[in-house]
Symmetry: C2
Subunit: 404 residues, 2 copies
């Protein structure tokens, strides 16, 4: 018996669902991972798509960073540990997105890294006049792309995801989209979009904010050019954890970026007045790492060394499938509207429900320790994170919503 | 009796100096501030110009942020506290640089903020063809300025500090320099340089990395246009603490910046696909705040609410004056060369000594818990931070160096 034994639309009652969830949890190989998180007993957390919870390891490492590395070792910690951290963290993220070692680095935030990627891409495709973007992309991506387009006198072609392929032409310098839609969790066809961009000689920048740590991605097999992503969602790096940027190794030597700061220099501690970019991905660094925030991220990433993205994806699909099945049987008739794909193959790790009173309901839930989030106009988003959410969590959520 | 009673070049012996330092410490109104820092008993810290030490308050706040705000409150903390933090922290920094409230915001790193300031300034002076910079500026400032110049087909005019005024012309769009030289601690004439820039219709961007928290600055009286600065030196924000940017209120409404992300939007949580800049200084934000790193900074800044920059400056001058006097009597004959100004009025809060074996000596000192730093080619830098360094610390440092 697996999650697929709950067939769509059957009127599973909650007692049956609880029984089923108990069985699924008992056979869940990832269930022990929850012990690595410090989630309060009175909290049900369905917001891994927005802010991952605290891990025991992050707390432990932060205490060490504060009390030993900063307090005792002071600047000696730069040589002893901190200088290498952006690359070390990048190399921990690389396998999660199918990227080769030394092609990912952690720094800054996602918006800034997207700016670097787009500026770099545009410089690699001089004379081209358009940037193509998913109009349903997270707005900051659109603002950043608009700025890059404006700086170059280019046109930003913003179209719905299903029209991206048709919008790409020989005028396109670069295409950018978010792999998993931040509202609906719909997974875009990365292979087809990337291939079309390349067919037209354009470059491809993927935003993996809702992908990394939840949905497999194979940067190498897809032969993408750039990726950026967020580390405070499914990677549990902590609030505002530094983001990451990936650049295909074949592009590194010719890639520049406008935020060329001392950390991107070939030899930062020479204090040379001429900028010479580092030979590798470090050239995408700018200034000093926010050590405390990155330490928390590095600690949280250790969890991923013991699990595979295939396991994570299998459980993610199990959790969202159970939620959608229970939506059909218990929520559809109560005014909730499924706004995520029904096919788990094209669905990321959260499920969005449209609901007229969604904002008020999410706030009420939060006041009772049930954490979800809300996106205009009426979407309640429920993130299901395989490393700490159980099947029983899913049932408890549906029980709550069904009583509303 | 004050520090000036040690006259230059007199052969003060160390026992006398210890006696004097004891007296000066006893009458130092800032001495009790040291209790707010957690500096190990076996450490002598002369590196406030590079990494300020841990404050008790930063540790306390970080524990609360980890265990309550992140662990328990999760995303609820954004509304409860975190969203307002960049502005709150900016407003704590504002009085330290003589800026008006709501004209400073904390975010990103100094290099990125300098990029925003220069791009913004260049856009405000279309048609002008030159950026003037101090060639002895911290190199990252030069790299960032070079990139902005390259993007606009402009010329970067890099000259020594004393030639800046002569290099400014009606072709100059923007002038940028660091107020306190990172190597020599020489204080530039901010009034004369700013006035000359303005006389030629150019804008002025000051880097206050070695100024803020150590040397008074009056952004309003000087009528500067932009400033950026670093928060992990004399502000003790923690390793890689977020930086800040200041924009003169008269320029805010017309200022844009290329890193226009969702945090700089007038209404970020509308998720509007059109960028509408926030009316105030928030338009210089880009993406999500690194909460842990900024919390540490905010906590450390509390110390400054109880002291004045005039008091800090007076003690800073007392400390560096004592060090220079003891240099004359005990170190000058041993191969050390004073590389900072003799006049305390034009000297910041560190003193640089040239020394052929400087790198090895700084490393050896670090291994013994005496923290200073080194900058090529041969400069040992000793930072004297009025909030935690004592006059006895200065004497202990000279005793060590004199024995070398």
């Amino acid at each position: 018996m697996g999650p697929s034994t709950i067939t769509r639309g059957t009127n599973v009652n909650i007692t049956d669902a609880e029984e089923l969830a108990r069985t699924l949890d008992a056979r869940d190989a990832l269930a022990p991972m929850r012990e690595k998180f410090d989630i309060p007993a009175d909290v049900l957390h369905f917001d891994g798509n927005s802010l991952g919870p605290l891990t025991l390891r992050s707390r432990e490492v932060l205490h060490h960073t504060i009390d030993v590395e900063w307090r005792e070792r002071l600047i000696r910690s730069w040589d002893e540990d901190w200088l290498a951290m952006p690359m070390r963290v990048g190399n921990m993220i690389a396998p999660l997105i199918g990227a080769t070692q030394d092609s990912v680095i952690s720094c800054d935030n996602t918006s800034i890294n997207l700016h670097k990627a787009l500026m770099s891409a545009v410089a690699l495709r001089p004379g081209r006049t358009e940037i193509v973007i998913d109009i349903n992309n997270f707005p900051t991506d659109i603002y950043i792309a608009q700025s890059v387009a404006d700086q170059h006198g280019m046109t930003l072609v913003a179209v719905p995801a299903e029209e991206i392929i048709g919008a790409i032409s020989d005028h396109t310098a670069v295409v950018t989209a978010t792999h998993v839609d931040y509202r609906t969790a719909k997974i875009l066809d990365a292979a087809a979009i990337t291939a079309t961009a390349h067919k037209h000689g354009a470059l491809m920048v993927w935003d993996l904010a809702h992908t990394v740590g939840a949905v497999p991605f194979d940067a190498r097999a897809l032969d993408i050019d750039f990726a950026v992503g967020c580390c405070y969602k499914y990677l549990n790096g902590g609030p505002g954890a530094p983001a990451f940027i990936h650049v295909a190794p074949r592009l590194l030597a010719e890639s520049g970026q406008p935020l060329q700061g001392w950390w991107g220099h070939e030899s930062p501690f020479d204090f040379d007045i001429h900028f010479r970019p580092a030979p590798g991905i470090s050239r995408f660094l700018t200034g000093t790492t926010t050590v405390l925030s990155m330490k928390s991220l590095e600690a949280a990433l250790e969890i991923f060394s013991g699990v595979s993205m295939a396991e994570i994806r299998a459980k993610s699909m199990g959790l969202t499938r159970l939620f959608v099945d229970l939506f059909d049987s218990h929520l559809a008739a109560r005014g909730f509207v499924l706004s995520s794909p029904r096919d788990p193959e094209t669905r990321g790790s959260h499920v969005a429900l449209g609901f007229a009173g969604g904002k008020a309901l999410v706030d009420q839930m939060a006041s009772q320790g049930i954490i979800a989030d809300f996106r205009p106009p009426d979407l309640m988003r429920f993130g299901f994170a395989p490393l700490y959410n159980s099947y029983r969590d899913v049932v408890a959520l549906v029980e709550y919503l069904a009583r509303f």
